[in-house]
C-alpha cells in the first residue's frame, strides 16, 4: 500500500468533504434532539425523501437547480406534516418510546418509497457542467461536484450561524436548547417553535439527500447508512449545538477517512500481510467509535455542550 504526503493531503481533503456532508445531516439532528429532546431516527428517512424528491424532479426537468428547488420545500412540508401528525405526542415520552416510534416510521417510509417509486434504485446523474475535475493537489484531480458539496455545507454552516446568533428566532432556538421549561414559562409559543425547528431540520436533511443523489445510490433504506454516523457526530459535538456539530463532523470525517488509509498501511508494517488484511478493515470500522468513547471520557457532554448551567 503506497503512502505519501500528497496522498495524505488528498485523504484529508476527502475527509473534510465527508465531514461537511455529515454536518448537513447532523445539524438538523442536533437541533431536534437538543431543543425538543426527541431521539429522531426518522431523520435518515427525511434525508432519503430529499434524495427521492430531487431524483424525480431531476429526471422530469433535467435541471439540478429545479431538483433542489423542489426537494427543499417538499422536505420542509413533509417535516412539518410528520411533526404535527406523528411526532408531537412523543415529546413528553421516554427516549425509548421515541426510538420505538421513530424506528417504526423508518420502516413505514422505506416501504412507502417502494410502494410509490418501486424497489429499484432511482436514476440521478451528476449535474451537467459539474462532471469535471479540479487539480487542487498536484497530480490528484478532485471531482468538481464534491467541491460544490463542500461549498454548500460551508454556506449552510454560515447561514445557520447567522440564524442562531443574530436573529430572534435563533435566540429562541438557543434558549430552547438551554432551558425548555423557561421559555414556555416566558410565554413563547412552544408548539410553533418546535414545528418550525423540525421543519428546518427536515429541510437540511432533505438538502443533504438531494446533494448526495448524484454520487450515491438513491434507494429505499439509504437513510440508515447515515443515521448512526450522525448520532456519533452529535454526541461528540454536544447535543443541541450546531457549532459542535460542525466541529465534530469535520473531526469524524477526517479521522474516519484518514483511518481507512493509514491504519491498513501501519498494520502491514507491523503484522504479516494476511493478518493485516483481516485486522485492518475491522479496526478501521472501529475508529470513530473509539474516538467517541475517548471524547466522552474526557468531556461527557460533548465538545460544545449547549445546555447552560
Amino acid at each position: 500500500m503506497a503512502m505519501s504526503l500528497p496522498l495524505i493531503l488528498e485523504q484529508t481533503l476527502n475527509g473534510f468533504q465527508f465531514g461537511v456532508f455529515l454536518f448537513l445531516i447532523a445539524a438538523g439532528l442536533t437541533l431536534i434532539f437538543g431543543i425538543m429532546n426527541l431521539v429522531n431516527l426518522v431523520h435518515g428517512s427525511l434525508y432519503m425523501m430529499g434524495a427521492y424528491f430531487a431524483a424525480v424532479a431531476y429526471q422530469w426537468s433535467g435541471s439540478f437547480l429545479v431538483a433542489l428547488a423542489v426537494a427543499l420545500p417538499a422536505s420542509f412540508v413533509v417535516g412539518i406534516v410528520l411533526e404535527i401528525v406523528a411526532l408531537r405526542t412523543l415529546y413528553q415520552r421516554d427516549h425509548l418510546d421515541q426510538v420505538l416510534a421513530t424506528f417504526g416510521l423508518i420502516l413505514f417510509f422505506n416501504q412507502l418509497m417502494i410502494f410509490v417509486f418501486g424497489a429499484a434504485s432511482q436514476e440521478m446523474n451528476l449535474p451537467q457542467g459539474l462532471e469535471g475535475h479540479v487539480e487542487i493537489i498536484a497530480g490528484a484531480p478532485y471531482p468538481t461536484y464534491r467541491l460544490v458539496i463542500i461549498a454548500t455545507g460551508l454556506a449552510v454552516a454560515l447561514a445557520l450561524y447567522y440564524l442562531i446568533s443574530r436573529t430572534r428566532a435563533g435566540m429562541l432556538i438557543r434558549a430552547g436548547a438551554s432551558n425548555r421549561a423557561m421559555i414556555a414559562a416566558l410565554g413563547i409559543n412552544i408548539r410553533l417553535l418546535f414545528t418550525g425547528i423540525f421543519g428546518l431540520g427536515a429541510m437540511l436533511a432533505g438538502l443533504s439527500g438531494a446533494m448526495a443523489g448524484p454520487i450515491l445510490s438513491v434507494e429505499p433504506g439509504m437513510g440508515e447508512d447515515m443515521l448512526i454516523l450522525s448520532f456519533v457526530v452529535i454526541v461528540i459535538g454536544g447535543i443541541g449545538s450546531v457549532q459542535g456539530a460542525f466541529v465534530a463532523s469535520v473531526i469524524v470525517g477526517v479521522v474516519e477517512t484518514l483511518g481507512r488509509s493509514i491504519i491498513p498501511f501501519l498494520l502491514e508494517r507491523i503484522l504479516s500481510n494476511e493478518a493485516a488484511q483481516t485486522a485492518g478493515p475491522a479496526i478501521t470500522s472501529m475508529t470513530i467509535y473509539i474516538l467517541m468513547a475517548a471524547v466522552l471520557f474526557f468531556r461527557p457532554r460533548g465538545l460544545f455542550p449547549a445546555k447552560g448551567g
Binding site: 503506497a2 440521478m124 446523474n125 471531482p143 454520487i215 450515491l216 434507494e219 433504506g221 491498513p264
Partner: protein
C-alpha cells in the same frame, strides 16, 4: 333400504370426488420483498411468475398454487416461513432465497422434511460441496463460479497489476479468493471496504496512488451503484481498466448509467442468444412488466420449468419423491440458457460469458456479450459432495 341407498350413494360420491380430483401442486416461494434489496426479490419473482404463466398456471399438468413469503432478509423469518409453508400449507416444493446466509438457515429443516428446496439465487458453497443434499437443487450457480470466470477473463486478457476491492464480509472475501484461483498475475493492492459503505472517494484516492493497470471490484447492490458513479466521476477510467463481478448487470445498469461504459464482467446468461425460449422470455417479460429482465429473473424463470419437467415425468404423482428427484436430475426442459445440465451436486454445469458495457445507439449504457470465458463449467466444490447418481 333407503338408508343403505343413501349410505352407498354417499360413499360413491366420496369415492368419485377423491378419484376425479387431481392433487394441487403447491409451491412455496420465499424471497426478499421489502427493504433496500427488495428489487432482487422482485426480479426473481417476476421471472418465476412469468414461467408459471407460460405453463398456463398448471405446472406439471397440475393446478398450481404458489404461496409467497417475504423473508425481509432475515434468516429467522425465512426459516419460520419455510416451516409454516411445510407444516400448514403442505407445499411440495420451496423455491426462492436470494441470500446465502438465509439459505443456510432454511436448508436443514426443509430438506429434513423431505420437501424439495430450489434456490433461485443463493449459491452458498457448502451446499455445492459437503452439505449437498438429495432434496436441494439450484437453478442459479455456485457463488464462486462468477469470480473464477472473472479471474480467467482477466488472465486471458493479459491484464496485469490488479488492484482488488470488495466489502468486508464472507461473500466479498469469496469473490476475491475465487478470482485468484484463475488469475495468476500480480496483485498490487487489496482493500476490504466496510459493508454498506457508500462513499468511496478515499478508496479511489488509494487506488490512484497504487498505480494499477487493472481494477477488479465486487460491489453488490447500492454499494456498487454508488461506487460506479464515483468511479465514473473520478476520471480514472481512462487509465485503469475496470472489471466487475455481481456489480453491473441489467438490474443496476440504469441507475449506474454511463459510468459503466467500458467495463467488463461475466455472467452465465447470454441475453443475446437466439435460443427461442430465451427470446420469448425476454419479449414476454418486457411486455408484462415493462422492464428488461436481469439474470436474476432468468434464473428464477427456469425453476418452474424444472419443476414442470419433473412432475410430468412422474405423471403428477407428487408422493414419488425419488422419481421426482431422478427427473429433476435429468433437467429435461428447455432453459433460457440453452442446454441445461446438472452436476452430481445439483449445481448447473453452464457457460460463462464475457460481457462488455458499451454505448448504445442512444448514447446510453448497453450490455453486449462478446465471448465465452468458460464452456460447460463445473463449480470447484462438487468433489466434496458425496452424492452419486
Amino acid at each position: 333400504m333407503k338408508k343403505v341407498v343413501i349410505a352407498s350413494g354417499l360413499v360413491a360420491a366420496l369415492l368419485a370426488t377423491s378419484a376425479g380430483a387431481a392433487e394441487t401442486l403447491k409451491i412455496g416461494y420465499i424471497n426478499t420483498f421489502s427493504g433496500g434489496a427488495a428489487i432482487l426479490g422482485k426480479h426473481q419473482r417476476d421471472g418465476f411468475d412469468l414461467a408459471i404463466d407460460h405453463l398456463g398456471g398448471k405446472v406439471g399438468g397440475l393446478e398450481t398454487e404458489v404461496i409467497y413469503g417475504d423473508d425481509q432478509r432475515k434468516p429467522d423469518v425465512a426459516k419460520s416461513l419455510a416451516d409454516k409453508m411445510i407444516k400448514k400449507n403442505r407445499v411440495n416444493f420451496i423455491a426462492g432465497i436470494t441470500w446465502s446466509n438465509l439459505l443456510m438457515a432454511v436448508q436443514k429443516s426443509v430438506t429434513r422434511s423431505k420437501t424439495f428446496l430450489i434456490s433461485t439465487n443463493a449459491g452458498a458453497s457448502p451446499m455445492a460441496g459437503k452439505l449437498c443434499n438429495p432434496y436441494f437443487f439450484t437453478t442459479s450457480w455456485n457463488n464462486d463460479q462468477m469470480p473464477e470466470a472473472m479471474g480467467q477473463l482477466v488472465q486471458e486478457a493479459g491484464d496485469n497489476n490488479v488492484f482488488m476491492m470488495a466489502p468486508n464480509y464472507q461473500a466479498g472475501k469469496d469473490m476475491l479468493a475465487g478470482f485468484k484461483r484463475y488469475y495468476k498475475g500480480k496483485v498490487v493492492g487489496q482493500i476490504l471496504t466496510k459493508l454498506g459503505q457508500k462513499d468511496y472517494q478515499a478508496e479511489i484516492s488509494q487506488v490512484r496512488a497504487a498505480k494499477p493497470e487493472t481494477l477488479y471490484v465486487f460491489m453488490p447492490g447500492g454499494m456498487g451503484i454508488a461506487f460506479m458513479k464515483q468511479w465514473g466521476a473520478s476520471g480514472l477510467a481512462q487509465s485503469i481498466q475496470l472489471y466487475t463481478v455481481f456489480t453491473v448487470d441489467h438490474l443496476t445498469l440504469k441507475p449506474i448509467g454511463k459510468a459503466a461504459i467500458g467495463t467488463f464482467h461475466t455472467n452465465f446468461w447470454n441475453h443475446e442468444s437466439d435460443n427461442p425460449v430465451n427470446q420469448k422470455f425476454i419479449a414476454d417479460f418486457q411486455k408484462k412488466y415493462g422492464y428488461m429482465p436481469s439474470h436474476f429473473a432468468a434464473q428464477a424463470y427456469d425453476a418452474p420449468l424444472l419443476i414442470d419437467s419433473a412432475v410430468r415425468a412422474v405423471n403428477g404423482d407428487l408422493s414419488n419423491k425419488d422419481g421426482i428427484r431422478d427427473a429433476m436430475r435429468k433437467a429435461d426442459f428447455k432453459s433460457v440458457r440453452g442446454g441445461f445440465r446438472y452436476n452430481t451436486n445439483h449445481v448447473p454445469i453452464q457457460n460463462f460469458y464475457r460481457r462488455e458495457v458499451v454505448a448504445g445507439a442512444d448514447g446510453n449504457a448497453k450490455i453486449v456479450t462478446t465471448g465465452v470465458v468458460f464452456k460447460d463449467y463445473k463449480d470447484s466444490y462438487y468433489k466434496d459432495c458425496k452424492m452419486t447418481w
